[in-house]
Symmetry: C2
Subunit: 458 residues, 2 copies
Amino acid sequence: MSYFDAASSAPLHPVARQALQASLDEGWADPARLYREGRRARMLLDAAREAAAEAVGCRADELVFTSSGTRAVHSGIAGVLAGRRRVGRHLIVSAVEHSSVLHSAEVFEADGGAVTRVPVLRTGAATVEAYREALAPDTALACLQSANHEVGTEQPVAEVAAVCREAGVPLLVDAAQSLGWGPVAGEWSVLTGSAHKWGGPSGVGLLVVRKGVRFAAQGPVDERESGRAAGFENIPAIVAAAASLRALRAEAAAEAVRLRELTDRIRARVPELVPDVEVVGDPVRRLPGVVTFSCLYVDGETLLHELDRAGFSVSSGSSCTSSTLTPSHVLRAMGVLSEGNVRVSLPPGTPAEDVERFLSVLPETVTTVREKLGAPTSATVVREDLLVVDALGKRCPIPVIELAKVIGDVPVGATVRVLSDDEAARLDIPAWCEMRGQEYVGEEPADQGSAYVVRRVS
Amino acid sequence: MSYFDAASSAPLHPVARQALQASLDEGWADPARLYREGRRARMLLDAAREAAAEAVGCRADELVFTSSGTRAVHSGIAGVLAGRRRVGRHLIVSAVEHSSVLHSAEVFEADGGAVTRVPVLRTGAATVEAYREALAPDTALACLQSANHEVGTEQPVAEVAAVCREAGVPLLVDAAQSLGWGPVAGEWSVLTGSAHKWGGPSGVGLLVVRKGVRFAAQGPVDERESGRAAGFENIPAIVAAAASLRALRAEAAAEAVRLRELTDRIRARVPELVPDVEVVGDPVRRLPGVVTFSCLYVDGETLLHELDRAGFSVSSGSSCTSSTLTPSHVLRAMGVLSEGNVRVSLPPGTPAEDVERFLSVLPETVTTVREKLGAPTSATVVREDLLVVDALGKRCPIPVIELAKVIGDVPVGATVRVLSDDEAARLDIPAWCEMRGQEYVGEEPADQGSAYVVRRVS
């Protein structure tokens, strides 16, 4: 098996395992107690905090350990919004943040707050200009991830932090995807991280709040972790998290170069090997190990299943694989194709041979899936209706496949209407038009679902 | 070293360690993913949920894993209060609940809710009658711990659950202290637990919500754990928690008998060996391994320090050891002496010799502390002022020590006033009077602090 989904969760780093096992004997007691076992636990906790703070680039008393990266985000956003309530009730997030940030924003909105969702470029990158425009006198907090979890695009965090600082607004950086590779540049105010993303154990997140940032922890009072992370400290896991972060950083520079070569190769070869593929995300400013592409006429879930059978574990932002059946909000915000989406995220240490094997297996796998779905090839376009394609009740990628089947029979200059009640069609039909050089005219209401109008121009 | 503070945190059970190590290799992936590593993680999680549910006595789909017992309590209370908001905004808790329950109640009050704190008997037990009285048409939730964490007293949970059920009010049981010993009896509605209390790893709590209880999870949406516990699942720790709960239960009946004999011996011997000691908590309905006593004229922090030097790790509910410097709310609610308080909580497997050694060391240790503080003995009562003892600016147990020094010189029938600005005096002076057979007249305002009036009756 080749595990290519490090962006979801990385296998435990050997140093994390060692540190965890070593501290199981020393770190189980309550660090608030004055007796020997408690003092030992406290020492381990303090040392881990120092190590983590050094890796993050902050003071130890600015960093607390939470039970997950998600908790760090929830607590960080809620704490700053409450602490700066007098300034105003406006929150800025990018449209491509992790769900923990976006769901925090929704809760804030439900409670009467105002949220600006900053759009991104087709590469997935937010712009400094968009953040500058979004800042208002009542802005309590701005949030921007260090790098995107689905497409790997790095965000202009240092630049956005500078603009926020000028406006006197704190910037919260969700650094879950990048913290293993290095500290976050720039004068951010709040930072969050997640240990299992860098090969640390599950159950540990980081929340860093710079001195001087107004912060009011929400929820019931709890004295642990400076009142910012309720519940008994998970010290063995915290020790393992800090130790593995240091260990990974020692290897990070060299490993980043190596993984970047491997993902560059995937970026270059996949479009050569597989027809009708769009590689997404910024080609240069991106995480070393992440590459994402979408395949026309492919159902993401089936593709993942076939790749799993072939020995590759990858994930997908396709509508058809997520449990909520809505297309990835990241791909949607970027305006790129969401169907047949595959994210490859290589863990440190991935052998080059595994990547070669992936490239050798992928074309046939995609072909198999396309054949199952009856996707068009040059020989198989079958015309069913000149002007209307009825794809009601059919899930992505069927509506696009049906469209592709008839487009050859539409006179140049004429239009075809695709009826669909699948939410993903709204994203995928325009994306298909852009990839195919056809004109997307727009969406019209229909009795059921919507009608998507496409003009054949070539 | 003898570690006698299992009620704070228990050393890792050997089965927990084995299960943790075994599942580090299998349980790190995202259980929501469809590929092989994800499916393996999901299987481990499902199996752990089944095992934990069986031990608790609930359905697997009623149980979620949280990141700590505290989180389980916070989420459980907030979820039921929100789910039953239409019924009303009244919450009932006992006065001796864990701080996670009481702090949840405070947050609810700050948000406009009403809270009834049910008083307890001098044993620490709540009564069914008090709960029955507290129930009102707008009661959304009642909470009662299965057993008290500071004095070990078991609560009449099954009886209170029956009364609540009659009134249509769900009962939340914080079972953190008892879950290792057996399932909670009675028809409770919500139950919480904490793995590190039974020898499982840190970082795992349980939240059980019976089918049919209206529950609305609070905070940002998160799909994991039925939407009731945000953040990536800590599967190796969850597996270890479930495995150690099963293992502990297999030994529980026999070990409970053995530990109860040891704590019975402490209960009987300490008052014989040490003068001016009050053993607190219910002598019969109590946890097997917990025994708590308070020593007059002793500073809890110094006593703990001396016991630590002698090789014993215990904790204390005394005002002088907690970080907030207020006396234990549990001892206060019971109306018992809080000074020089010691809680002995034996972990399973504690050798009888360790208990004997504790009993042999304790008397001298207490004497040493009393001598340091200049506590009264029959020969050293020095009269300073007939009617007023000025203990302003002095911390517990000094005010009581000063009182004891002069009482011999107060004519029988006359009163003495103790001036004190230490919060603990409000609890300890009446408790001293009860132990000494003197009459506590009451508290009067003074220029600084309060004046506590005591009449010598013997």
